[in-house]
Amino acid sequence: MVFDVFFLQQVINGLSIGCVYALMAIGFTLIFGVLNVVNFAHGEVYTIGAFVGLMVITALAPPLLAVVPLVLAVGAVSGVGLERIAFRPFRRFTDEASQKSRAMREATLLSSLAVSIVTREIMMHIFGGDMQGIPSGYLLQQPVAIGPIMVASGSLVIFATSAVMLGALQFLLYRTQTGLGIRAVSNNQLGARYVGINTDRTIVTTFAVGSMLGATAGILVGLYDGAISPHMGFAPGVKAFVAMVMGGLSSIPGAVACALLLGVSESIATEFLSSGWKDLITYSLLVITLVFFPQGLFGHGRERA
């Protein structure tokens, strides 16, 4: 055989992890696009998605397909809430010194971090710090044979969901008035305001959309891995953030490509490195990318990025 089957399976596993990073990275990219600020609480949205999914499953035992719209709704609500609490208050400073002040920019960054700490601690309080198991009926771990390759059903679900969501996002961004608003605000917030776009509403919408993607990623990983915890959002959050930056901050295809690259390289790395070292691969890729492409792989020199 030309391909090593095991290797191919690792690549597929990697792609499904990469899809999860990608869904989160898109959220980061959208939000960074409209606000020029990193949303540190994005990982918590992911965790909330997973926990709400679990709660619904244990309480109502609905069909799997019914869980998804619910998680989407929860994601949207938490995104809107997050924007209200952690970001909007800082838009009250419109004088020039504040706009150009680094202290102000870093304050917004840390306000989302503070919100994420509070959220995580509250979840710890409610659910405890330990791993929570997902009811086995909902697990997506059945092996499915595709030719000689065995793939977990979860991988297939992740691929399908990601494809649908990416398609929907593409439609939203390029075929709707809302999407036009998001793209306009990302391009030039002031200009967008001058042509009559309600920037506040656009920003809220962006948070809702980004958080829907993040929350979905959370429940998918929960079903795939079989266990969730209040800390689960941290690692993929950092990876997705890294993917966004490697992709050039403002490019969604770039972020997706880099997220897939990270997922696959991590998965392959576990073949010849002990799992402790696999993060070294991610971060080496990041640092090497930045040294040779200071604006990311798909960036185009955005001012004051």
Binding site: D95, E96, A97, R102
Partner: protein, 255 residues
């Protein structure tokens, strides 16, 4: 020739297929007040960036005070005595007026961290006095303690000039200083530049607006489509058919 302060030879800059500046040569002698004008898109800003080291030339040389400075970094060129202002006002917004100006003086006197730790008294005094002098020259001493972002637009222009003066420039390049000023303010500025020049500073005035340049400069260089099309006294340049064509042929609001 020893009187030449700045000399550019065959300066060319391509951006992809676009020839932004093409084979421009010119000299500026010590003590001159020279204007560089041209319609929008003539390549003034590119030429400016080539001279100050922000953009490396595709071809040609820049000689400042007898030394070839082509390819040197902006801070090296600045330390040799080329001070500049920015067209789109770039004061340090969260610093005080005095601290803004002091950065120019630090550029001139050196920036070693050891001076901040031991035996830096003389250095600090020199920087302080130089900064204060520069503020006196533009008349901003009363605002010395204010945060720069709170100054009016017009005063920020003078702050930029003071900051450039604090670097002790032998050549001061002003990039479109009249942009955004009304007629009265432009007249005041013209007056100020003339006095600065009379005080012994060599000035290169890059302007879009002809009025200011024609009224103040002893010599005018005209740029159009990346090429130098005229170089002479204001009167001669104004009569030059090539200049008239460049300004009238292009739809432009230049006076």
């Amino acid at each position: 020739m020893s009187n030449t302060l700045l000399s550019i030879q065959g300066l060319t800059r391509r951006f992809g297929g676009l020839l932004a500046v093409s084979d421009v040569s010119a000299t500026i002698a010590k003590g001159e007040l020279v204007g560089l004008i041209g319609p929008n898109g003539a390549g003034k800003t590119t030429l400016f960036n080539l001279i100050t080291g922000f953009t490396p030339p595709s071809d040609g040389t820049v000689t400042f005070d007898g030394q070839d400075v082509t390819g040197r970094k902006p801070w090296q060129i600045a330390r040799m005595g080329m001070g500049r202002t920015f067209q789109n006002l770039r004061v340090f917004p969260n610093m005080t007026v005095f601290d803004n100006v002091s950065v120019g003086a630090v550029g001139a006197f050196g920036q070693s961290p050891w001076r901040a730790l031991v035996n830096g008294g003389a250095h600090s005094r020199a920087v302080s006095e130089r900064s204060w002098e520069a503020l006196e020259r533009v008349g901003l001493t009363a605002q010395a303690g204010d945060i720069a972002a709170n100054l009016s637009y017009g005063k920020r222009k003078y702050l930029e000039i003071a900051r450039a003066l604090a670097t002790s420039p032998r050549l001061l390049i002003l990039d479109e200083p009249a942009a955004g000023l009304n007629d009265t303010e432009t007249a005041e500025l013209a007056d100020f530049i003339r006095r600065l020049h009379a005080g012994g500073v060599t000035v290169l005035l890059v302007e879009h607006d002809m009025g200011l340049v024609m009224g103040s400069c002893s010599r005018v260089i005209v740029l159009a489509s990346g090429r130098k099309i005229a170089d002479g006294t204001p009167e001669a340049v104004q009569r030059d058919p090539a200049v008239l064509e460049a300004y009238l042929g292009v739809e432009d609001d230049a006076a």
